[in-house]
């Protein structure tokens, strides 16, 4: 299958500062791809290279196999973009803004505009108001609609739910799920890890301009240590020595609390010799892995 996005050793320097260092990864057509990293990691730089807003110092980026630098108009024609720092003309109405951006897209009709506005609970009367009168959430909704109204095959969304209330975040997740079902590729930068966990198939993690992890969300979650609590009916001795994958946090007579990376076979075998009353295993969280990467380590 053709990649929707391919980065090949993409590097961007601003004087002595290296904002992006040899970033390489592929986003498959039809997947929802999360792009994560702390502030200043190079996420926006990567996105701006993809849109040819900035030029890489070396390396190259492709969208659907087309070079983003040499044939940028072709790549941009296949892309809908929601910027993180969304700026709109305050003296235009929402409808005028959407019309302008639609015309610039070269699309003749906004096939999905009404549906999107409806799902985001954006009233038609609000579309006739000046954008300067809009709340942050309303601006964000306009941002989402302008990116998707012409139904492009690739969506690049930078912090898409920033400023949306929980109800509208939920509506957005459903819109993303629908787009994915229709085969749209979604490349999404986000700080909300629960959002990434919920919506993305795979993620890439960027740290100080370098890609440090590219993996399916499910696999990343597996990298997270799980917290296991085993309660006993009667007092039991401390667990026997366990492999390095297990870190014993508490070994009381009635309760063992263990952080486990990987399979639980050895731990459960050790516990089975005792009268088990209850076992609780926390669901591994994406955050537990991501935060370690953010901090400079590896899980």
């Amino acid at each position: 299958m053709q990649s929707a996005i391919s980065l090949h050793a993409l590097t961007k320097r601003y004087g002595r500062v290296e904002a992006l260092r040899g970033a390489s990864f592929d986003v498959q057509t039809g997947e929802v791809f999360g792009f994560l990293g702390p502030n200043g990691a190079g996420k926006s730089t990567t996105i701006r290279c993809l849109l040819d807003l900035i030029r890489p110092t070396s390396g190259r980026a492709e969208i659907f196999g087309i070079d983003c630098r040499r044939r940028s108009r072709e790549t941009r024609a296949r892309t809908g973009y929601l910027p993180g720092e969304l700026a709109l003309y305050g003296d235009m109405t929402g409808a005028e803004m959407l019309d302008l951006l639609l015309r610039l897209s070269g699309a003749s009709n906004a096939s999905r505009r009404d549906e999107l506005l409806d799902r985001l609970a954006f009233a038609g009367s609000d579309l006739r108001r000046r954008i300067r009168e809009y709340s942050t959430g309303m601006r964000r909704k306009i941002g989402i609609v302008q990116a998707m109204q012409h139904d492009p095959p690739l969506l690049i969304l930078d912090e898409p739910t920033e400023g949306l209330d929980p109800l509208m975040q939920e509506a957005f997740y459903e819109i993303v799920a629908d787009a994915r079902r229709r085969g749209t590729t979604i490349f999404m930068s986000s700080h909300i890890l629960s959002e990434v966990d919920r919506t993305c198939d795979r993620i890439a993690l960027l740290r100080k301009g370098e890609v440090v992890l590219v993996a399916p969300v499910e696999e990343v979650r597996k990298l997270a240590p799980r917290r296991v609590r085993i309660a006993f009916d009667a007092g039991v001795p401390a667990p026997p020595p366990l492999p390095d994958a297990f870190e014993i946090e508490e070994a009381a007579p009635l309760l063992w609390r263990v952080r486990a990376s990987g399979e639980l076979r050895e731990l459960l075998a050790a516990a089975r010799a005792h009268p088990i009353r209850d076992i609780e295993i926390d669901t591994p969280r994406l955050e537990d892995v991501i935060f370690r990467y953010y901090g400079g380590g590896e899980p």
Binding site: L51, L53, L104
Partner: protein, 269 residues
């Protein structure tokens, strides 16, 4: 073509500025015609000529006598410093829009569409041309209607050729400073920077030309000022537009527009 949407948008955004300036300068042509009629009726032109000291006459040159007439006074609306400054301000304001859009990140939305970057410059050039034609057209209309409505009987009207020459001079002034500001805007990340640099350049080159007209040592470097090639007083005194002046001003305009196209194609937005 989607680029035309940018042109339409630029004109739509500039419409109030263009309209207001055009109406003010058009109305000014009426008022100056009314003032000239009063001067003509009261014989003020003869009185002015008689009280002006010889030194002032020397400074004003050959234009003084034609200026002190109904037809001469009517043309003041085409070369008064404030009129020139207003037109240059409009030109600079219009062509620095790109710097503002880069500064405010509006360019991210615009240029994430399949639109060539050249349209950022192209639409500014078109907006500059349209505003130049519109404002100067309204000014000419103001003069034409003002003369028909208010000119005293028997008073000599300014030659259409003179008015046209003055209009061409003003148009070239707008195009030069618009293109200079456009090139600076494509190099800037902030609109205020672009406006300041273009404005200061206009002020410095104006003062340089002004000094060169009254002080010989400055004449050697006066050629670097675009104002050196704008000679309205000579036109009022009966001169004609020099093709060399038109070529220089046109050349400056084309050169700076070309710089703007090259810069916008290469820079990070």
């Amino acid at each position: 073509m989607s680029g035309f949407a940018l042109v339409r948008h630029a004109l739509w955004r500039a419409r109030t500025l263009i309209l207001v300036v055009a109406l003010i300068l058009g109305a000014f042509q009426w008022l100056i015609t009314l003032a000239a009629r009063t001067f003509d009726r009261t014989g003020a032109f003869k009185q002015i000529l008689s009280i002006i000291p010889p030194m002032m006459r020397a400074l004003a040159g050959d234009a003084l006598v034609p200026m002190a007439s109904f037809g001469g006074m009517v043309t003041i609306g085409y070369f008064h410093l404030i009129v020139q400054a207003a037109l240059m301000a409009v030109a600079i304001g219009l062509t620095t829009q790109t710097a503002s859009e880069i500064e405010l990140h509006l360019v991210d939305l615009l240029m994430s569409r399949p639109v060539s970057r050249a349209w950022l410059v192209g639409r500014s050039v078109i907006a500059l041309l349209v505003s130049t034609v519109a404002i100067l057209g309204v000014m000419a209309l103001g003069t034409w209607s003002g003369l028909h409505l208010f000119a005293p009987e028997g008073a000599s009207w300014p030659e259409p050729r003179l008015v046209l020459s003055l209009l061409i001079n003003l148009a070239l002034l707008m195009l030069v400073w618009g293109s200079v500001a456009l090139a600076i805007a494509t190099l800037s990340r902030r609109r205020v920077t672009a406006i300041s640099i273009a404005g200061l350049a206009a002020l410095v080159t104006f003062l340089l030309d002004y000094l060169a007209r009254v002080w010989d040592p400055m004449k050697k470097i006066a050629w670097i000022s675009p104002f050196h090639y704008v000679r309205q007083m000579e036109l009022v005194a009966g001169g004609t537009l020099a093709p060399r002046d038109i070529a220089v001003l046109g050349g400056i305009t084309i050169a700076f527009i070309a710089i703007a196209f090259v810069v916008i194609a290469r820079r990070d937005l």
